[in-house]
């Protein structure tokens, strides 16, 4: 396989050394040292992460890495989560499964995000990968419970089945029955996204009862509260649990059963679910609260004082997801009780209401930033912000890695000074030197982008909406943010100049999304011709771009680097701009 010199190690030793190198970056670095290292490394790489399923073809992956055991694929752009990517755009997993079926019979782990997965794909998975242990379908769609039945029946070694946030067509709750009676290896099951007909409860109970290693169980909303105790008593070893609907009439037997069940779960550290939660049943989890490191109440319509009381009992919290019912007062309690807090997400209970329905303002976030020294990751929806608050937050939390602020009115100014929020966000990027992800909102001029380009050197993902005044803003980001991998922009007045001037930068990034901006068709064509290693995809539901003028702005633009060339599975409303584009149309 390689030339041996007096100074080279035998392959087996190098392979053994490489087995300690887990990170892709390090493996990639090792593989370019010399040809023999490249060869040895590619034969012993076991895990592949493909951040954009169109950046490379399955054939190419298989050719380079012949013996993969774990694959992760991502499909649609992030803004698909907010309905900005029309249905039928792409991200189909079947071509990957088909090719891997023959090449990787020993595949153990499949993780997919924002991909279209059909029942046919799942059936093929079940048939081809008898050793499959992990199947994660994160925000996927296109499959039904029939596909899940095939997985249950076929994957005898399955440990983890996680359908988080996926859209599943519910046909029958009996898919769970397809796990054979001899199947006992389940460790993690997340079915929280399933609908009403999707889960046969008795099958679930039997499954839980015979799997002694089950550590993580996230139920769907339809599982009633009075069934939980029984389920928990069959799985007291759970570490992570998600309830179903958390509403029921108060009955003392149900209540005391729940208290006992939760009390017996001595290792429970994470709770979620709580759909439709009523305050009456909250105290049943009190015995667990002191141990909780993660609590997701973002589906619970619980308000203060019940909500605050619950939070105050959880001093070990590291991760907190909640609705804005917590209000500033509740966040102050969180700040004083939860000194280990690392991640906070506050979602809006009434995002489309004209008037605020709760008293949640910038003050809550300031309080948490001040009281929780380990705070690293924030997602915060609110209705008002000030530069002063953002500066304080930045100074309190120089360790932020992720900061996403969403002001419900996207172009709202500093409510105290009526100035743009440039200075505030500028402080964030200046003080938080490890910031990897940032989402902006509020009234913002080109200035904030100048700050970002100047300071945000570790920034990998930036989300922008309704911000900036000119192309200079986009230029600052593209020329200044050295670590930028993903940039997504909606409704900003950015046009051709910055894009064309920074075309080379785009090859160093995973992708760029621009919708409702001012990039012209002509510029897209030019980029397509100049940059063969970029796929320039123009999306327009109104009709083919050739029918319009070169200066017309395109509706949606998605640019990504690829070594696989343009894709061929595009729907009618997506066009690739490449050298052939002009000739294709004539």
């Amino acid at each position: 396989m390689q030339k041996k010199t007096a100074y080279s190690f035998p392959d087996e030793i190098l392979e053994h050394v490489f087995s300690f190198i887990q990170s892709d970056k390090d493996r990639n670095a090792a593989s370019v040292v010399c040809k023999s290292w490249y060869e040895i490394e590619r034969w012993c790489r076991r895990k592949v992460f493909v951040g954009n399923c169109y950046a490379v073809s399955p054939t190419m992956v298989i050719r380079r890495f012949p013996d993969i055991r774990s694959i992760e694929l991502k499909g649609k752009p992030h803004f698909a989560d907010f309905n900005l990517v029309p249905d039928g755009w792409g991200g189909y997993v079947l071509p990957w499964i088909s090719k891997m079926a023959g090449a990787y019979p020993w595949l153990e782990e499949i993780r997919l995000k924002r991909m279209v997965v059909t029942d046919e794909s799942l059936e093929l998975v079940a048939k081809s990968f008898t050793n499959l242990q992990v199947l994660v379908l994160f925000s996927c769609e296109g499959f039904s419970t029939d596909g899940l039945a095939a997985i249950a029946a076929g994957c005898k070694n399955l440990r983890e089945l996680d359908l988080r946030d996926s859209e599943v067509d519910d046909l029958s709750g009996h898919w769970l029955n397809h796990f054979p009676d001899t199947y006992t290896s389940l460790v993690s099951l997340n079915i929280s996204c399933l609908g009403s007909d999707d889960v046969s409860f008795s099958a679930l109970e039997r499954l839980v009862g015979r799997c002694p290693n089950l550590r993580r169980l996230l139920l769907n909303r339809e599982v009633p509260l009075d069934k939980i105790a029984n389920l928990l008593s069959r799985a007291p070893q759970l570490i992570e649990f998600g309830t179903g609907t958390y509403a029921a009439e108060l009955r003392s037997d149900v209540y005391s059963n729940l208290v006992e069940a939760f009390c017996n779960c001595k290792e429970l550290k994470s709770l979620s679910g709580f759909w439709d939660a009523v305050p009456a049943y909250l105290p049943v989890i009190y015995s667990v609260c002191s141990r909780l490191t993660s609590l997701n109440l973002s589906y619970a319509p619980i308000q203060n004082p019940d909500l605050t009381k619950l939070v105050s009992q959880c001093p070990s919290l590291q991760r907190m997801l909640v609705l804005d019912y917590i209000e500033d007062s509740g966040l102050e309690v969180l700040a004083s009780s939860c000194k280990d807090l690392q991640e906070l997400r506050v979602f809006p209970s009434d995002p489309f209401g004209e008037e605020p329905n709760v008293s949640l303002t910038e003050k809550g976030l300031v309080a948490v930033s001040s009281g929780c020294p380990k705070l690293q990751s924030v997602l915060y929806f609110c209705r008002q912000m000030s530069n002063a608050a953002l500066v304080t937050i930045a100074q309190n939390c120089p360790n932020f890695t992720r900061f996403r602020l969403c002001l419900l009115d996207p172009k709202i100014a500093d409510y105290r000074t009526l100035q743009p929020l440039d200075v505030g966000f500028g402080a964030i990027v200046e003080h938080c030197k490890d910031l990897r992800r940032l989402s902006l909102s509020g009234l913002l001029t080109d200035c904030v982008f100048e700050y970002i380009g100047m300071h945000a050197k570790k920034l990998e993902m930036l989300s922008v909406a309704f911000a900036g005044e000119s192309d200079l803003a986009l230029h600052h980001v593209l020329s200044g943010c050295e670590s930028l991998r993903k940039l997504e922009i909606m409704n900003c007045p950015f046009g051709d100049k910055a894009l064309l001037a920074n075309a080379a930068k785009l090859e160093t990034m995973r992708s760029l999304w621009m919708s409702s901006c001012s990039v012209s068709l002509g510029a897209c064509k030019m980029l397509g011709q100049k940059m063969p290693r970029l796929n320039i995809e123009v999306m327009d539901e109104k009709g083919p771009p050739d029918s319009r003028a070169e200066s017309d702005p395109v509706d949606k633009l998605y640019i990504y680097r690829s070594v696989a060339g343009p894709r061929f599975d595009m729907p009618p409303f997506v066009w690739t701009m490449d050298e052939d584009f002009a000739s294709e149309l004539s």
Binding site: F82, T118, G142, E167, P351, P493, S516
Partner: protein
């Protein structure tokens, strides 16, 4: 009867339909491509060519709160979760799955962006590239092999168009374009 679905004449739904705006004005439809919502925010600094405004909507009265596609950035299942609690659903979308017998992929649409059955059916026809037949109260959909059906809150499968639009969008759980004899079975004759 004009068009592939001559709704208004047969069902006289317009008379029973609730809509925004003064009587006598055309209802304003909030569709995906509609940039009119930016008028509210785009007073001054939208920059060069920043905001397209749809000409035909400039004359229509703007709705109380125009919903911008993609803002606030909340995922559909969270929006739907909030929806089920509100009695008067002014904001937020009503997302339902649309499947078609024989088509491999499911779609998802927001019923709130359509102002009535004609628009909805047109959109579904475009989405799946087929034609729905003509609707009549007595005979259901004639003229094609397909019939649009929906599952309501009680779990019953109904023919799309049987109930007034407002009732439909609040009770529809999902849509299914049925093919063949199953579709004809849902036709009238009762």
């Amino acid at each position: 009867m004009e068009g592939s679905v001559g709704y208004d004449n047969d069902l006289n739904l317009k008379a029973t339909e609730l809509r925004l705006g003064l009587p006598g004005t055309e209802p304003v439809s909030i569709v995906r491509r509609n940039k009119r919502s930016l008028q509210q925010v785009a007073d001054d600094d939208c920059g060069v060519n920043g905001c397209k405004s749809d000409d035909q909507n400039e004359t229509a009265p703007p709705p109380p709160k125009a919903q911008i596609v993609g803002w606030p950035p909340i995922r559909s299942y969270r929006k739907n979760n909030i929806q089920t609690k509100k009695n008067e659903s002014e904001g937020g979308g009503i997302y339902v799955k649309v499947s078609m017998d024989g088509a491999p992929y499911l779609r998802k649409i927001d019923l709130k962006v359509y102002s009535g059955y004609p628009e909805l059916l047109q959109a579904i026809e475009n989405m799946f590239k087929f034609t729905i037949g003509e609707y009549s109260e007595r005979e259901g959909y004639k003229g094609s092999d397909y019939a649009p059906t929906y599952e309501d809150k009680d779990g019953d499968w109904m023919l799309v168009g049987d109930v007034p639009w407002e009732m439909f969008i609040t009770s529809c759980k999902r849509l299914r374009i049925m093919k063949g004899s199953e579709a004809r079975g849902l036709g009238r004759g009762v």
